[in-house]
Symmetry: D3
Subunit: 251 residues, 6 copies
Amino acid sequence: MKVKEIYDFLNELSPFDTQEKWDNSGLLVGNYEDEVKEVHISLDLDLDVLEKVSPNALIITHHPLIFSALKSVNYDSYSSKLLKILIKKDISLISMHTNFDKSHLNKYVAENILGLDIDETDGYITYASVNKDFVTFQKDVEKRLNLQYTKAVQCHDRVKKVALITGAGASMLSEVKADCFLTGDIKYHDAMEASLREISLIDIGHYESEHHFSPLMLGLCEKYLKINKLKAIITASKNPFKFQYQGETVE
Amino acid sequence: MKVKEIYDFLNELSPFDTQEKWDNSGLLVGNYEDEVKEVHISLDLDLDVLEKVSPNALIITHHPLIFSALKSVNYDSYSSKLLKILIKKDISLISMHTNFDKSHLNKYVAENILGLDIDETDGYITYASVNKDFVTFQKDVEKRLNLQYTKAVQCHDRVKKVALITGAGASMLSEVKADCFLTGDIKYHDAMEASLREISLIDIGHYESEHHFSPLMLGLCEKYLKINKLKAIITASKNPFKFQYQGETVE
Amino acid sequence: MKVKEIYDFLNELSPFDTQEKWDNSGLLVGNYEDEVKEVHISLDLDLDVLEKVSPNALIITHHPLIFSALKSVNYDSYSSKLLKILIKKDISLISMHTNFDKSHLNKYVAENILGLDIDETDGYITYASVNKDFVTFQKDVEKRLNLQYTKAVQCHDRVKKVALITGAGASMLSEVKADCFLTGDIKYHDAMEASLREISLIDIGHYESEHHFSPLMLGLCEKYLKINKLKAIITASKNPFKFQYQGETVE
Amino acid sequence: MKVKEIYDFLNELSPFDTQEKWDNSGLLVGNYEDEVKEVHISLDLDLDVLEKVSPNALIITHHPLIFSALKSVNYDSYSSKLLKILIKKDISLISMHTNFDKSHLNKYVAENILGLDIDETDGYITYASVNKDFVTFQKDVEKRLNLQYTKAVQCHDRVKKVALITGAGASMLSEVKADCFLTGDIKYHDAMEASLREISLIDIGHYESEHHFSPLMLGLCEKYLKINKLKAIITASKNPFKFQYQGETVE
Amino acid sequence: MKVKEIYDFLNELSPFDTQEKWDNSGLLVGNYEDEVKEVHISLDLDLDVLEKVSPNALIITHHPLIFSALKSVNYDSYSSKLLKILIKKDISLISMHTNFDKSHLNKYVAENILGLDIDETDGYITYASVNKDFVTFQKDVEKRLNLQYTKAVQCHDRVKKVALITGAGASMLSEVKADCFLTGDIKYHDAMEASLREISLIDIGHYESEHHFSPLMLGLCEKYLKINKLKAIITASKNPFKFQYQGETVE
Amino acid sequence: MKVKEIYDFLNELSPFDTQEKWDNSGLLVGNYEDEVKEVHISLDLDLDVLEKVSPNALIITHHPLIFSALKSVNYDSYSSKLLKILIKKDISLISMHTNFDKSHLNKYVAENILGLDIDETDGYITYASVNKDFVTFQKDVEKRLNLQYTKAVQCHDRVKKVALITGAGASMLSEVKADCFLTGDIKYHDAMEASLREISLIDIGHYESEHHFSPLMLGLCEKYLKINKLKAIITASKNPFKFQYQGETVE
C-alpha cells in the first residue's frame, strides 16, 4: 500500500486543510509513492518508538515532528535527531494535529475517558454540564486520567459547566464560557488570569490527556488497513516527566 | 516622598533600560509626581494584596500587571480588574521584571535559596557546578524550595553542571550549556526536547522559584526608604495553584 | 438597565462591526453587567463633562477615548487622565465612531445642518448637487455651521457637486469625485494636493461639523431609554480652540 | 555648473543623511550631470512657480515633491502633474526637508522671525524662555508671522517656556517640555490632547511658519552660486488657503 | 479617441484585475482623458521604439515600464530614462502583463508558434501532450522559435507531457506536472532543481518566447481601433542580447 | 579529525559571520562532534557526487544545499532528495558561499582564470582596468572560461573598466561603476536595464564562472588536512545544462 493511499484515507477522516495556520500537520517525512509495510500509531516520537518500528513502516503521530522549519540538520535537537533515524530506516511520518483535535480527539476524551455528556463544541473547545462539588470532580478527573497528582485553581465550590481542551489550551482562556476549564500544561500566569476571571482550572496533563490519541486512531483506521493487508500497531511514546512526592519517586 | 524619587533609586539598583524588549517593566500605574505614603512589595498583585494595601501606597512587583496593551478596560480580565482597584485607591505600581532577573533575582535564588556556588552567569542563565546523584539533588531542590511535588526529566545519573532560570525559562533550552536545567512552568514539549538533547530538567515552579523576590527587594530598599521616612512592607501574593495527591489535597 | 442592553440597542442602530479596522468603537470602559443610572451624550470627553456626570452613569461619545493601546496608565495623557476619573466614578463609556459616521452622522449633517439634497453616499463620503457661486456657498456653509472664520481653497467660480466628510476626512481626497470637498482639520499639504487636482476645499471644522452628534444621538435613543426608565442628557464637551482675529479674541 | 556640484554644496550645508527615515530629501528630479542655468528657491512647487522658471534651471524646495513612491504617472495628482512640467522643461529639483529643519529652519524662525531667545534645541524642537501674558504673546506671534487669524488652546495665563516646530509638528506633543507649543496644522485631537496635558498651543500656520525657507536659503547659497556665475532667485509658491471672516474674504 | 476608451476595450479583452498582485499592469503613463492619435504595440520599450513613435500616441506593451515604485526620477535607470521621453513626447503607456499571459499569450505561443495541442491550462501553465524523442523535440522548438542556440536539461529520452510558461517561469517549477518544461531565462539553480526532480527543461528565451505579443495584440485590437479611425502599428523593441559562438558573432 | 576542527579552520580562512543575511553558509548537515574520514570539495551536490563519496566523509560545497527552510522532507525536491543520501551515508556538509565569494572566489577568478589586473574590490564586486575592443575581449573571456557560446549586451566599442561578480550577480547592476559587467545567469530584464544604463554585459555562466571553487578550496585546505592525516579530494558536480547550436548538440 502506498503512503498516498493512507494519506487520502486520513484526509477524508479529518481533512488536513482544517488545521490551524501555525500547525504543520500532513506528510512530514517520506514520499507519497513509498510502499508502506506496517503502520504504527503514537502520540509522539521518541528514541524507543523508533527502535521498535521496522524499516519501511509509516508512523502516524498526533504532534508534528517539525514545527520550526529547518535550515540545517545537526542531529542535536529533538527534530533533527529523530529525523535522522526516520530517514535511515526509510520510515514515513504523517502527523494529524489540530485537524484531528477538532474532528475527533477533544470529543473522544470528553466522552470516553472523562465520561462527560457533551453540550456543544466550539472549534477546539468542548463543553459539558457537570453538577458536582469541586473536590469530588477533581478526584474523579484525577482517577479517570490516571494522574499522579493534580494541580488546580479553585474559584467555586461546585462545578457547573466545564470546558475541555486536550493538550495545552490555556491560551484560549479568554474565550472560555464555563466556570471550570480542563486543559494541560497550565502555567502560573494562566492560573493568575483564571483566578481573577473566576474560572476554575484543573490541569489534566498534556501527555495524560492526549495519549488517548493512539487507541482512538487505531480504532478509526484498523479495519481499512486490514482490508489492504496492513497491520496497525500502537507503539506508544513515553511521558518524559517523572514525579517525586515528598522526596519519594511516584511510579 | 515622590514616586519619581523611588523610581530613580530602583533604576540605579537595576536599570529599567536593561529589560528585554518584549517586557513592560517600569511605572505602570500612577504619576511620577504622586506622593507615596507606604511601599509594599510582592511577586504579583491579587485581590488580597490590594485589599491590604492602603490608599496612596506604591507597590513594587516583579511581574508587570499589563503585558498586552489595553484597548479597553472591562474589569473582566486580570489586568483590568486589578487596575480598577489600583486607580480607585490611588495606588501606584512599579514592576521590576527582566531587568531585575538579570541584575539580582537569578543569582539570589541560586546562592541564597538553592545553596549553589555560581560558576558564571550568561544573561538570564546562572550556571553552577554540582556533583551529586540526580535523585539526591532533586530531593534537595524540592526541600529548599518547599515544593509540594517535583516534576522532572532525568537524562543522567549524576548532576554535574546546573543551569538556572527562575520563573518560566524553558524557551532558552537550546542555549543552555549544562547537563541539568532548573526552571519553572516546564511544558510537555520542553520535556520532549530536553530528553532528546540529554539535558535533565527539574521543574522548580514559577511561583515557588520567584516569590523570593519580596524579601530580596525588601533588603535592597528598606534602608533607603527608612531614611526617607517610608515603611517598606512585604504584602505577598498567593500561589494560585492548589495540589491534590492521590485524591487528597496537599497543604 | 444594564450596559449590555444599551450596547445591544446601539449595535442594532449602527452595528459596531461596521467600524473601520483602525477604529476602536465599542464598550471602552465598564462592564456589560454594570447597572446604568443615567445616560449622557457628548462628542468627546473633557474634564467639565466628567465633573457634571454622576457616578454609575453611561456616557456615549463619538470619539473613542483610547486610540493607541495603553501599556501604562500615568494620568498625564488625555486618555489616562480621563480614564482615571471614569474609573473612580464608576462611569461606563461606549464610543460610536466610524460605524456611526457611515450609518447616520454624515447624512444628518448634510441634510439637517447644511440643508443639502443628498445624491448618493459612498462609504464615508456623502455627495450632493449644489449650483451656486463659490463665495455664496462658502458664506452659507459658514453661517449654517456657525464657524468663526472659514479657510478654503477655491479652484472654481461655481460649486456644482459637493462631497462631505464630517470630522477629518482629507486623506480621502484622491477618492473624491466632486468639484468641492467639505471636511475639517484640512492641512497645508491637503490644500496643495487639492489645488493641483482642481477640487475646491472648504474647512468645516472638526468640532464644528461633528458636535451635532449629541442631538442626533439623543433623538435616536431617548424614547428607548425612557421606556426603560432612563434619562438621556446631552452633556457636551467644548471646542478646545479659541480664535483671535486681528489681535482680538473672537467669541 | 553641474547639479552634482550644487548638491555637494547643499549636502555640506545640511547633510542629506540626517533626514528622518520617512523623508525623501535629495535630488528628486534630474541628473547629477545636468548643467544648471539658474537656481530658484521656494517652499514648494505650484503651477505658477513652474511657469516662471526657465528650462534647465534647478529648483531648491523645502518640501519633497514625491512622498509616496510612484507606480504610475497619471498627471492627475499633485506630484505627477508637476513632475510632467519639470521633465518637459528639463528642470531639476532638490528638496531639503527634515535635514534642513534640524540644521537651520527652526532656529531661524525662532530667532529672526519670532524674535525669541533660544534656550536649547532638541532634534526638531527649539525651546525659548518667554515671560508674557498669553494673549499678549499670541498677538505678538500673530503680528510677527503676519497671520490672518490665530487658532489657540490656552491652558495658562502666562507663557513661560515655549517650544517651536515649524510646519506640522503636533505629533511631537508628548515629547514637548514647555507650557506653550507653537506649530502649524494643529488638528482637533491635538488640541484635546494638549488641553488635558495643560500645554497651551498656538497654531502658527504651516505655510506661514515655513515660507521663510526661501530668504534663508537664498542667504546661505547666494554667494557660492555667484562665484560660480549662477543667479539664485526666490520664486515663491503661494499659500493655497484663502480666509473668510464673518462672510468677508480676508486679503 | 480617448485613452479611457482604449483602456476599457483592453480591460474587457483581458481584465486588469486578474493580474498577479506583484504586477503593475494598467495605465502607467498618461491620463485617461488624453486624446490618442496612433497606437503602437511592442513587447517592451527601448530607445529605438520611442524614437519611432510620434507625439500623442499610445503604446501598448507587455512588460510594465515601472516595477519598483519611483521615489526619484534621475534619468539614469531604464524606467526613468524612458519615462522622460514618454512625458516629453506626450506618449501614453498601457501595459498588459500577467492578465494577458493568462488570458491569451501562453495559449497563443503554445498553439500558433509551437504547434502544440493544448490539453489544459492551469493559471499560467499551459500543458500539451507530445510524444517525441527529446532531441527531435528540442530541434523542433529551436526552429519554431528561431533560437540561435538552445540550453537544456535533459532528464528523459522522450518528451511525453510538456508544460509551457512564456517569459521567465522557472520559479513555478515545483508546481509543474509534466516531464518537460519550456520557459525562458532559466538559471543554474533552476536547472539543478529540475535535474533532481527529473523534469527536463528547454530554455525558450524570454524575448524569443514573448515577442509574439505584438502580432497577437495587433490582431486583437486592429479592427476595433480602425472603426474608431485609429491606426495600430507594431513598433517592436529589440532583443538586447547578441550571441557569439566559438568566437564568431551569430546574426 | 572532528567536523568542529575543520569548521574552525574554514571559519578562520573565511569567517562565516561575514555571509549575507539571506545566505545559509555553515554546517548544514552533520554534527560538530562527528569524526571525518575524508574531505570532498565541489561547487554543488548532485547524485553522481554523492555516489562517489564514501560514508563518514565531509563535503565542502560553495552553494548551500538548504536555502528555503524545510517544513517537511519529501525526497522530491533537490534539497530533500540529496539530504536523504547525506544522512543515510553519514556524510557531513559545510557550505561556504557569500563569505567565500567576498574573501576569495571573485578575486581568484578575476586574476587566475580571467587574467585581469584587479584595481579594487567593493564587497562582492571586483573591478579591473581593461583596454580592449569589445569583441576581442568577449572572445578572450569565452576562451578563458571555456564557454560553449556567449550571450552579451554590447553598449560600447571598447571595454575600459570591467566589474566582475561570479555566479549570478545581475541584481547588483545599479551599483556597478564600470562600462562592462561580467556575471552569470543574466536575464532578459537585466539586459534591458543594462542597455539603457549603457553598461555592457557578458554572461560568463554561473557554473562556468564558479566551478573554479573546487581547485581554489583544495589549494587552501590541502596542507592543513594532510597534517591532520586527512585526504582532500575534488569530486566535482556537473553542469546541468547541455547546449545545442543550430540543431547540433555542443559537447
